[in-house]
């Protein structure tokens, strides 16, 4: 376990002068600056890092980046813990704490490893078949399965990190900072276009960083990379983002990408003001996808033993991180792409055995391998890997040398093993070719096509050019470096021309030292009678795909879901194409006939924090405040949100012994103050729309159900607004300022909708009407001064309005009048309207003075013990009067007639107002619709539950016919009993029929007896406000 696999490699990106301490599963290790957790663990000789999902088989690292299927780790502890990161993508830092995610119930002893011995009992569809019945036990199964499944644990504390979003608009976005992406960005940058270059790794360069012996233009690939980056940095129009993964490509070239800003830093170097992650939303005129490819392993017997990897991964660990994963490597390949790595490893001192499924080898490579002392087996594949927790050797079996596997299968011939050789080794690496990273290309509807030449699903350079998407490099199936660079120049120039720009490839010598490639062989699995895995993360073996096909699953989408192929955090980056090819084999189809599954965002997992961004805590949702907020806080209001508004809910008083009132005590006190003395409500949140123009009256006649032709200046009227289906949509009081100027109020929640609604009708149907309407909601602060003493309070602050009582001065300020004047020295518009049934004044002032005027009113009312009240008391007071709240008594299915508000519907108006025709539809004219009534419980102390169902009998044996529901229910301190409003089928008739006016309101298992009554519980004749 403690062997040291670190080698000194002159091109390694790891700084051996900077050791870093870290721990994995509680054990301490040392790695170096530049390591990933995976490279550091491999350097320390750690082989088993995970247990597999279904069988609990020991698993090690297979890949070197996002394709890694096995090594999911839990990073950090407590509130900062993050589950299910791939060890291959975690940058090492001083003090990093990592642990295995899989292997419940304990790390040392894994219950599921028993499962491995019984794997024949867990074939494809195992979960579907086993846990299907009985259905009620699924929650139990699910719990166990999820716990045993081996994924990590979410933090249980609140996230202490912060995240944000950033919006970009750019001419060119290049995704991928490998060789061709760098080149495309350089050409685009030279053209003067604005350019953003993204790469998901800590350093730009891609596979160049793993290819130190490759040269471009006579220079080492790394030197070429350094020069390109230096030039890009000198261009002010180019922005480069590393550690930034583009995870989704959406409509019209909107790319979403997550940048990791701090996770690579030791805790003591992380800046508190900096974000952990940033979600970039980039709108690009042109997108260049240089997303590259992942190497695809070959499928062979026991290919999941720790120590079996991909060739590119071994090369990356060796060349980039200076880690030799073992001493003796057995490499299996079907293509020339793996050869450079073979040569690099051998030149670096490893003992290397090469098996190639093909029977011929390029003489140039043959000569080089001989020179390096590499044993080469042509026409061989690996049929079985030896070893349990680490590779100890492998069996090479000779494949039929005369025919390519695909051709033979087409002829129905079974492949036959001729002879075999056992090789001792401690690493096995395979290459079945490259699988282009086509994910982003496909996210918004693009499809990859199968290339027989590249043996891969590829995308073409310009097939989506009309959508502004161009592709360069390995994603297009061009796997040679020089060919890729040359094609990238061509494609990038085509892209720049479409922007009306051009660029120069001057000073760019793109000649490489690559050896010409021979054709690869189309082979995906080596015949074997041992278990051979296609998808490591989901434990999908060749036999599972075979079984799925045998059970008649024919679509690849169905095979995927039945076997779980390509599920999980890696989304099949390694396994998918092998799965498609092997499915094709069993289905007797070609790979393009089988096709691919659907690629959907996100390309790699994205944290909830990044998606939420700033939309957390006090910036989660807009909180709207009125001008009186300082006073509300001073009087210790409890708040509730109404729409986005923070409204005082009630004002609990704290007694001398620090005992704070509960809501009921506070509301009872507030209600009595309003009915008996004076109280005050902040009504600023009501929507206010100023409407002016020659045709205002006509416009109001069309949008309200009641009539506006006769309302005189100085007067207000309650207005009811219907939608075109005849249902109540909003209400409020509207004042006539002059014949061409009205001020409309709306409900708090409906303000924005109503303004849009009015604008829409004006703009689309009646543009000829001369009206302008503008929201003045925020301009006016509104204090509703309520109660028999309200006039006396207002009189103290108001010497320019005649406030004398109506019976003394009939011409003075009457109910439903409005007046301009000053209140506490501030210009005010006062409406004498009442939502409580009491004498009341709604005082509107410029909101800049809102808090001042409110405080002046509080002082003026002190001698009457003026009481601020909140929305709860407002609701009780209005319910006592039977006044509706739109959205509480109504739900979009309630007409004014259902509310017994025919008085607010003027059928005589010449224009067919919005909703009028619908009031005459066969359904709306029924007289037995649900109608608004009052309810009084038999027991006056019981307050019904809002939402309680109305039933006709206390016998609640199902089926129970239901006749409506309770819409509002309160305890009325003024009446000394409970009251409720309800929508009841045929309620208006039942209200007046003593033989039929008993109902039961059912909620929470109880049926409460009540009588249907008028919804007006207090002062039906209106004497209280007419004073």
């Amino acid at each position: 376990m403690n062997s040291n696999n670190r080698i000194k490699h002159q091109h390694s990106r790891v700084d051996l002068t900077k050791p870093l301490n870290f721990s994995f599963n509680g054990k301490s290790y040392i790695g170096y600056q530049g390591d990933t957790l995976a490279s550091a663990l491999l350097a320390n000789g750690v082989k088993v890092m995970a247990r597999s999902f279904k069988y609990g088989r020991p698993r090690g690292i297979v890949g070197a980046w996002a394709e890694e299927p096995n090594c999911l780790v839990q990073i950090d502890v407590g509130a900062k813990t993050t589950p299910d990161l791939k060890a291959t993508q975690v940058e090492l830092y001083e003090g990093l704490v990592a642990g295995r995610t899989s292997g419940w119930p304990s790390l040392a002893f894994d219950l599921k490893s028993i499962g491995g011995h019984f794997s024949r009992f867990m074939p494809a569809g195992f979960y579907y078949k086993t846990f299907k019945w009985p259905a009620q036990f699924w929650p139990l199964y699910e719990h166990i399965i999820r716990r045993a499944a081996g994924y990590g644990s979410s933090p249980i504390e609140a996230d202490v990190e912060t995240y944000d979003h950033k919006h970009h608009h750019t001419d060119v976005l290049v995704v991928g900072g490998g060789a061709t992406g760098l080149l495309a960005a350089l050409l685009a940058g030279r053209s003067g276009a604005s350019v953003i270059l993204l790469d998901d790794q800590s350093e730009l360069g891609g596979y160049l960083l793993s290819s130190p012996n490759t040269t471009i233009g006579g220079k080492s690939a790394i030197e070429w990379r350094d020069n390109v980056i230096t030039e890009l940095q000198s261009l002010p129009n180019v922005q480069m983002l590393t550690r930034t993964t583009a995870f989704g490509l959406h409509d019209m070239n909107m790319i979403q990408a997550v940048e990791l800003l701090q996770d690579h830093l030791p805790h003591n170097q992380r800046k508190p003001a900096q974000r952990r992650e940033r979600l970039h939303r980039i709108r690009a005129s042109k997108v260049v996808l240089a997303t590259g490819a992942f190497e695809r392993p070959l499928v062979f017997g026991h290919n999941d033993v720790p120590g079996v990897m991909t060739v590119s991964a071994i090369a990356t660990y060796f060349n980039r991180y200076g880690v030799a994963c073992g001493q003796h490597a057995l490499i299996l390949t079907s293509n020339d792409g793996a050869y450079q790595a073979v040569a690099d490893l051998a030149a670096g001192g490893l003992q290397v055995t090469l098996a190639d499924v093909r029977t011929e080898i390029n003489p140039a490579w043959d000569a080089r391998f001989k020179q390096l002392g590499i044993d080469v087996y042509l026409g061989f594949g690996i049929s079985e890997v030896f070893g349990k927790t680490t590779v100890t050797g492998a069996r090479l079996s000779k494949l039929n040398p005369t025919n390519a596997m695909q051709e033979m299968l087409a002829q129905g011939v079974k492949l036959r093993v001729i002879n075999q050789i056992d090789v001792a080794c401690d690493i096995v690496a395979s290459s079945g070719g490259l699988s282009p990273t086509v994910h982003l290309f496909c996210h918004d509807g693009g499809r990859p096509t199968w290339s027989d030449e590249s043996l891969a699903f590829v995308v073409s350079a310009n097939s989506r050019a009309n959508a502004g998407i161009y592709c360069v490099g390995a994603v297009t199936g061009v796997f040679g470096l020089q060919a890729g660079l040359e094609k990238a120049v061509e494609t990038t120039n085509e892209m720049l021309n479409s922007l009306g720009k051009n660029s120069t490839a001057s000073k760019l010598n793109l000649t490489t030292n690559e050896i010409a490639r021979s054709p690869a062989q189309a082979i995906y699995r080596i015949p074997t009678n041992k278990k051979a895995f296609v998808d490591f993360q989901n434990d999908v073996a060749v036999t599972d795909i075979e079984l799925a096909v045998r059970e008649n699953f024919k679509s690849i989408e169905h095979i995927k879901r039945y076997t779980a192929l390509g599920f999980g955090t890696d989304q099949g980056k390694l396994s998918n194409v092998n799965g498609f090819a092997i499915s094709a084999e069993f289905l007797g189809k070609t790979i393009p006939q089988v096709g691919t599954t659907t690629y959907r965002p996100a390309y790699t997992p994205v944290s909830f924090g990044a998606l939420a961004g700033a939309h957390v805590n006090d910036t989660f949702e807009p909180r709207r405040y009125t001008a009186m907020q300082p006073s509300h806080e001073k009087y210790e209001a409890e708040f509730e949100t109404v729409g986005n508004w923070m409204r005082p809910w009630y004002f609990p008083k704290t007694s001398e012994n620090m005992h704070s009132e509960d809501m009921h005590a506070a509301v009872n006190r507030e209600c009595l103050a309003a009915r008996n003395s004076v109280a005050m409500l902040d009504a600023s949140t009501l929507g206010k729309i100023d409407i002016q123009g020659r045709d205002v009256r006509e416009f109001l006649n069309r949008v309200y159900s009641n009539a506006w032709s006769q309302l005189a200046p100085g007067k207000c009227r309650y207005g009811l607004m219907l939608n075109e289906a005849g249902m109540v949509m909003d209400d409020g009081v509207t004042a006539c300022i002059t014949d061409t100027h009205f001020l409309m109020t709306t409900t708090t929640g409906g303000a924005a909708n109503v303004l849009n609604w009015l604008e829409k009708w004006h703009q689309t149907e009646w543009p000829e009407l001369e009206v302008y309407m503008t929201s003045v909601t925020d301009h006016w602060a509104t204090a509703a001064l309520v109660g028999p003493k309200s006039r006396e309070v207002l009189a103290k602050l108001c010497n320019d309005i005649d406030l004398s009582p109506i019976n003394l001065s009939p011409d003075a300020f009457k109910f439903m009048d409005w007046r301009d004047g000053t209140v506490a020295g501030v210009p005010a518009r006062i409406f004498r309207i009442s939502f409580s049934g009491e004498l009341a004044y709604e005082i509107n002032v410029d909101a800049s003075y809102g808090n001042y005027v409110w405080e002046e009113l509080m002082q003026a009312g002190a001698s009457f013990d003026i009481t601020p009240y909140g929305t709860e008391t407002m609701h009780v007071l209005r319910a006592e009067k039977g006044f509706i709240i739109v959205g509480q008594e109504t739900d979009g299915s309630v007409t004014p007639l259902d509310l017994d508000m025919a008085w607010a519907v003027s059928l005589k108006k010449p224009f067919s107002f919005i909703g009028k025709r619908s009031l005459a539809r066969s359904d709306t004219v029924r007289t037995d619709r649900k109608q608004l009534v009052g309810l009084l419980t038999e027991d006056p102390t019981i307050v019904l539950k809002e939402g309680a169902q109305i039933i006709n009998s206390s016998n609640i044996l199902p089926p129970v016919p239901m006749f409506g529901h309770v819409t509002s229910s309160y305890y009325s301190a003024f009446l000394g009993r409970s009251i409720a409003l309800a929508l009841v089928t045929d309620g208006l008739k039942r209200r007046d029929d003593p033989a039929n006016n008993t109902i039961y309101a059912w909620a929470e298992g109880k049926a409460v007896k009540a009588t249907i009554v008028s919804p007006v519980f207090v002062d039906a004749e209106g004497a209280r406000h007419n004073v």
Partner: protein, 104 residues
């Protein structure tokens, strides 16, 4: 997450600035009282809801608060164009006319 060109603000803006306002060119019957219940119900509730090109209204909610008309493909979110209400009407009518001529 698409982009709509606002003909009033005269530039392309992100979808987040707009509210969808439903199918365009559903005319309110001139005399609602003369409509049968069925015809009125069709006006209220029956929408085209096509897969493909659709003429629809959008409100530039955070910007000019004006309604505009866009011809949008509901299957792939491509937008063929966007116009003021009156300009859109001309384009729409011509399209209807051309389609009629083509079927003759």
């Amino acid at each position: 997450m698409f982009v709509i060109n606002c003909p009033h603000c005269q530039e392309a803006r992100e979808e987040e600035e707009f509210h969808y306002e439903g199918e365009a060119f559903i005319a309110r019957p001139a005399n609602p009282e003369a409509e049968t219940d069925d015809a009125w119900g069709d006006y209220l509730f029956m929408k085209k809801n096509p897969k493909g090109w659709h003429w629809e209204m959008w409100n530039h909610a955070t910007g000019c608060r004006k309604i505009l008309v866009a011809k949008r493909n509901t299957a792939n979110h491509a937008i063929a164009g966007s116009w003021t209400l009156s300009e859109a009407r001309k384009v729409y009518d011509k399209e209807q006319y051309d389609a009629e001529q083509a079927t003759k």
